[in-house]
Structure formats: structure tokens, C-alpha cells
């Protein structure tokens, strides 16, 4: 055993054993069959109470909103959440109180928009057991899992309370005698990622930044893809350089146009800052927030109905204009 120089006292929610992961992946089906299904079906089949859940994208950018809504609508519970680069996704899941454990890198906030009053209340309620990390620390944990090893080294977190409340360990490098933090691999039970294009088998393309989604797709044991649109397999095969997630990682492919709404989808539509502001406003009053959730999430059947409530195609067209800087000044 490497001599451990220091270690965090935070809880390690998932087993970093690469052999258990190997046994799981050995059995994962590699047949090239259609995995197209509704978001409802995907969440029913692949998100189980108690699962460790991770969500792709960054903040409110390229997020699988429909999956977050559906998890809340199906009243999943006791999940463990990867609070990594999460903003509006966290806000939705916190609204449903679907998780009771959380790895924290970034939570509660919506970046420049402010903090979510409800998510904050939930995290201050004592109902959620937490462990501290940073964005890169969490990305490294996913990268370790994607690589099939139980740890990766980094030179961050050192000397801080973030480290002391993490589940990382400090060791000395046997080549240089220098200190490194070792991060335990994280294989989420299930992840959801929103992409620009996918075929029915799950071969995916993303335009713009990939954040930590390439690592997440490879680390997750089960993977739900929502896609702006389905494309023929021939389109994928015409340009294999552009595939970033191969089909054999994927369990469900759900076509969800405008699926990152109210978040930003690069090259497609900008974020709906008015609707996001509405969330932050109604959250101040728990009673009003309950009515808001009843209307927008619990009271609808699916994401398309939610979109309709938010202004439908008309609203998307405005956001598309904003994304393309057609109305440069009209930023909500």
C-alpha cells in the first residue's frame, strides 16, 4: 500500500474497484440495436432509487433537462448526485428532493444569475450528506473510471478544507518524491447527456465544448442520451472523426428537440434568461414554488408540454435568434 501522507474525511459514496466495473462492462450488451425510447421509458428503465446519478453539460448549457424533469416527475428517491458543473440541473433535482447524498463541486448557484433559494434551503436542511471536491477533481474521478483504473493523480485541493472534507488521499510520487492528491475513480450507476446528433444506436456528436462528457459517457454504467435530433447511421459513418460517444456505451436514445431548454444549446438556441429568472423568483416563496412545480413539472406529461407552457416554438425562435446574435441586444 502506498503510504498515505494525508487523507480527507469525507464519505466515499461509490466503490472505486475497477474489477467490479470490469465485470459490469463485460456483460454490457454491445449489439448494434435501436435504443430509441421515450424519456419516460428511459428513466423508468435506467434510473433506480438509490442510484448514483450524473448529468452532462455545464451549468445550464447543453443539459438533458427532460431527463431531470422526468426523474422528479417519477419521484425517484435516495439518489446520490454528482454536483459537478451543475446549476439548473441541480436546481430541478433539488426541487424534487430526489437525492440525499451529494458529491459537491458546484451546486446551488446559477453562476452570474445568482443562487437558488430552494436548492440552498435543501442543502442547509441537513437532509443531504455531502462530500467536497472541485470541478477538475470530479472530472478526474470520471476520467479514472473511463480509463479503467481506481485512481488518478492531481495537484489540486492540497492544503485546503476542500481536501479535508473530500475522500481523496495525498501520497508521494515514487519517481519524484513530490506530493500528489489521488482521486478515487467514480463509476456513476447512470448518467444522462444531451447531444446535438445521435443515431438510433447511440453514436453521438457534440458541437462546441465537450466539458467532461466524454469522460462521463465512458465512466457511466448506464447512459441515457437525449438528442436534438436523430440522424441516420450513414451520416455518422460518413464522418467517424466527429463521433465522441460510441453506441456501445449507450442504453437509451431519446429524441428531445430543444432538450437543453431553458439552458443554452450551442449553435441552436440561447438560454431563456427570463424563465430562469422566474425559477429564482418563485423559489423565494416555498408555497409559490410548489405551485410552479405543479404547473411546469408534475402537472405535465412530458417535456414537449413543458415547452408549450414556456412559449413553445415561438419562444425557441427568439432564443435561436439570440444564439445567432441576430438580435444582439435582446438578451432577456
Amino acid at each position: 500500500m502506498l503510504e498515505v501522507v494525508a487523507e480527507g474525511s469525507g464519505p466515499l459514496f461509490m466503490d472505486p474497484d475497477p474489477d467490479k466495473a470490469r465485470e459490469f462492462f463485460r456483460k454490457k450488451n454491445r449489439a448494434m440495436v435501436s435504443k430509441v425510447m421515450s424519456v419516460r421509458e428511459a428513466v423508468e428503465k435506467f434510473v433506480h432509487d438509490g442510484d448514483y446519478l450524473a448529468i452532462g453539460g455545464f451549468g445550464a448549457n447543453r443539459i438533458p433537462t427532460a431527463v431531470c424533469h422526468e426523474i422528479v416527475r417519477q419521484r425517484k428517491k435516495n439518489l446520490i448526485f454528482a454536483g459537478h458543473t451543475s446549476t439548473h440541473d441541480f436546481q430541478i433535482l433539488a426541487a424534487g428532493e430526489v437525492f440525499d447524498r451529494c458529491d459537491i463541486a458546484y451546486i446551488i448557484g446559477l453562476e452570474a444569475r445568482g443562487l437558488s433559494p430552494n436548492a440552498r434551503r435543501y442543502m442547509e436542511s441537513g437532509k443531504v450528506q455531502v462530500c467536497e471536491w472541485s470541478n477538475y477533481a470530479m472530472a478526474l474521478r470520471l476520467k479514472a473510471a473511463a480509463m479503467g483504473v481506481s485512481f488518478l493523480p492531481g495537484r489540486n485541493l492540497m492544503g485546503t478544507d476542500t481536501f479535508r472534507n473530500s475522500a481523496a488521499k495525498v501520497v508521494r510520487c515514487p519517481f519524484t518524491d513530490k506530493l500528489f492528491v489521488l482521486y478515487p475513480a467514480l463509476w456513476p450507476d447512470v448518467a444522462a447527456i444531451h447531444v446535438h446528433e445521435a443515431d438510433v444506436y447511440g453514436n453521438c456528436r457534440i458541437k462546441g465544448i465537450s466539458v467532461a462528457d466524454l469522460e462521463l459517457a465512458r465512466a457511466a454504467k448506464r447512459l441515457i442520451i437525449t438528442t436534438e435530433k436523430l440522424v441516420p447511421n450513414e451520416v455518422i459513418r460518413q464522418d467517424p472523426t466527429s463521433t465522441v460517444i460510441p453506441y456501445f456505451l449507450v442504453d437509451a436514445v431519446c429524441e428531445v428537440p430543444f432538450g437543453s431548454y431553458p439552458g443554452n444549446m450551442p449553435y441552436e438556441y440561447f438560454s431563456d434568461e427570463e424563465h430562469l429568472k422566474q425559477w429564482l423568483t418563485v423559489e423565494k416563496d416555498p408555497e409559490e414554488f410548489r405551485r410552479f412545480l405543479d404547473k411546469y413539472i408534475y402537472g405535465v406529461d412530458d417535456f414537449n408540454q413543458y415547452l408549450e407552457l414556456c412559449g413553445g416554438i415561438e419562444r425557441i425562435m427568439q432564443l435561436r435568434a439570440q444564439e445567432h446574435l441576430i438580435l444582439n441586444t435582446n438578451r432577456g
Binding site: T85, E124, Y136, T162, G208
Partner: protein
């Protein structure tokens, strides 16, 4: 001299530290405005990097998220978080900008909790990429209001490492040598860090403020640089670029 507000003053002061050919990792808001201003004035070769993957974009408007599509608009590369963080870990990024609810005399930053960690009085977002930036970049820059509830003797929680508990502490903890807090820019002053003690010290005071003003709004004893000076005011040209090109809609400078 032209009229200017506090935010304009802070952005102009910060921009001047970003020399041509440097690379800077920024967030949204004032840091991004400072980087844009530097790029459009004295540092055309400033490389602006966002943690979610955007590298050297041509920013059309202020991003609202460090991962929104503005952050890689006409960028030279739309990459990912690991690639950006590892570029920083390799030592290729000179500056980063950070904030926080609390900062102490060693430049340690708290963006996690107020009160006990296990039962926080107030929960904040946590590190995000801050700890990574503060560990990997050569120099940490902070733009924040001068306020004694913010500048505290001891942060409740060290989210991101400053000089920890003093000289040699970063290196002892294992952080890369030669890194650490560089400048703290507030509405009243620019503070640096004493090379010997690694304690925060006033290096220049903005026009209209005194050392006493700054100390009165700080919850710990500040050192004062032997070369204390008045912070140069924004120039007309800086203000013009800032107002006309960097933030024409006054998202940041109108705050």
C-alpha cells in the same frame, strides 16, 4: 480626467496586470471584462481561457456562464474541462481570477460554507473550478468589494488555497512552487502580498480613499507596501474601449 464608477475603476486596474502574451483563465463578470479590456488595449495577444473548454474566443458579448456558447464563439478551440485544467496544471496559464464570500490575510478564499462545515449556517456553491484555478495558475487575481465581513481574520473554510498559513505552506502542502495570490483589487485599493510573510499588503490606494479607509473595511491587519502609491485612474481610452467595445450594454459596468 473622465468620470468613472467603482466597477470601471476595478476593471481597468485589473486589466493592466495582464501583460501581452499572457494566458488568463477567467469567469463571468468583471474578470472577463478586465481580460477583454486588456486584449483590446495593451495586450492583443492575451489568451483568454474558460474552464468548460472555450479557448481564445472572439467574445461577442459578455458570457452569462463560463460554459455558454459565447465562451467559444469563433474560438481557436472548443475543448473540454480536462484539457483546459491540464493546460493550467502544465503551467501554461499565467493568471486566473477568483472570488469568494470570504478572503483572509493569506489570500485564502471561501466559497463553500459560513459556519461549521458539517452544519453550515450558509451554504455556498463550493469550489467549482476555483480550487483548480488557484492551485494551477501561476498568479491568482481577486476582484471583490472591500468589506470587513468579507476580508476576515480567518476564513470559515479554505475552499481555494491562498498562501494557506504563511510562507512555505503551499509548497509544503504539495502545490506547485512559485504559485499563489498576486493582486486583490477592490473598490478602494490594490493589495498584493508581502514577499517575506505572504501577508496581504496595500500597494496602491484609489483616488479618494486612504490607507485608513481600506484598513477600516478589513477584518485583519493589513501591511502597507513601502512603495505605496495612488492607483492610476482609468484613462479616457480605457474607459472608451470598456464602454463602447467591452460592455456596451453595461451588464457589468452598470452594476
Amino acid at each position: 480626467m473622465a468620470e468613472y464608477n467603482t466597477m470601471e475603476m476595478m476593471i481597468c486596474a485589473a486589466a493592466r496586470y495582464l501583460e501581452d502574451g499572457a494566458a488568463v483563465a477567467v469567469g463571468t463578470g468583471a474578470p472577463c471584462a478586465a481580460a477583454m479590456l486588456a486584449q483590446k488595449t495593451h495586450s492583443p495577444n492575451l489568451v483568454i481561457i474558460f474552464e468548460a473548454g472555450g479557448v481564445a474566443p472572439i467574445l461577442p458579448t459578455m458570457p452569462i456562464s463560463v460554459g455558454d456558447s459565447r465562451t467559444f464563439h469563433k474560438a481557436i478551440m472548443a475543448s473540454g474541462m480536462c484539457d483546459v485544467m491540464e493546460t493550467m496544471q502544465r503551467g501554461m496559464v499565467d493568471y486566473c481570477f477568483l472570488g469568494g464570500a470570504q478572503i483572509d490575510m493569506y489570500g485564502n478564499l471561501n466559497s463553500s460554507v459560513i459556519g461549521e462545515w458539517s452544519r453550515p449556517k450558509v451554504r455556498f456553491p463550493g469550489s467549482g473550478g476555483a480550487n483548480d484555478f488557484g492551485s494551477f495558475a501561476w498568479r491568482i487575481m481577486v476582484i471583490t468589494p472591500q468589506d470587513s465581513r468579507r476580508f476576515v481574520e480567518r476564513v470559515d473554510f479554505i475552499t481555494t488555497p491562498g498562501y494557506l498559513d504563511g510562507p512555505g505552506a503551499r509548497e509544503k502542502a504539495g502545490l506547485a512552487p512559485g504559485t499563489g495570490p498576486y493582486k486583490v483589487i477592490t473598490n478602494m485599493a490594490v493589495m498584493g502580498f508581502d514577499p517575506e510573510t505572504k501577508r496581504m499588503r496595500i500597494e496602491s490606494v484609489h483616488k479618494g480613499y486612504t490607507v485608513k479607509d481600506v484598513q477600516d473595511n478589513t477584518g485583519f491587519e493589513l501591511l502597507v507596501s513601502p512603495e505605496l502609491e495612488e492607483t492610476p485612474e482609468p484613462t479616457e481610452e480605457e474607459l472608451r474601449v470598456l464602454r463602447e467595445e467591452v460592455d456596451p450594454h453595461r451588464y457589468i459596468i452598470g452594476r
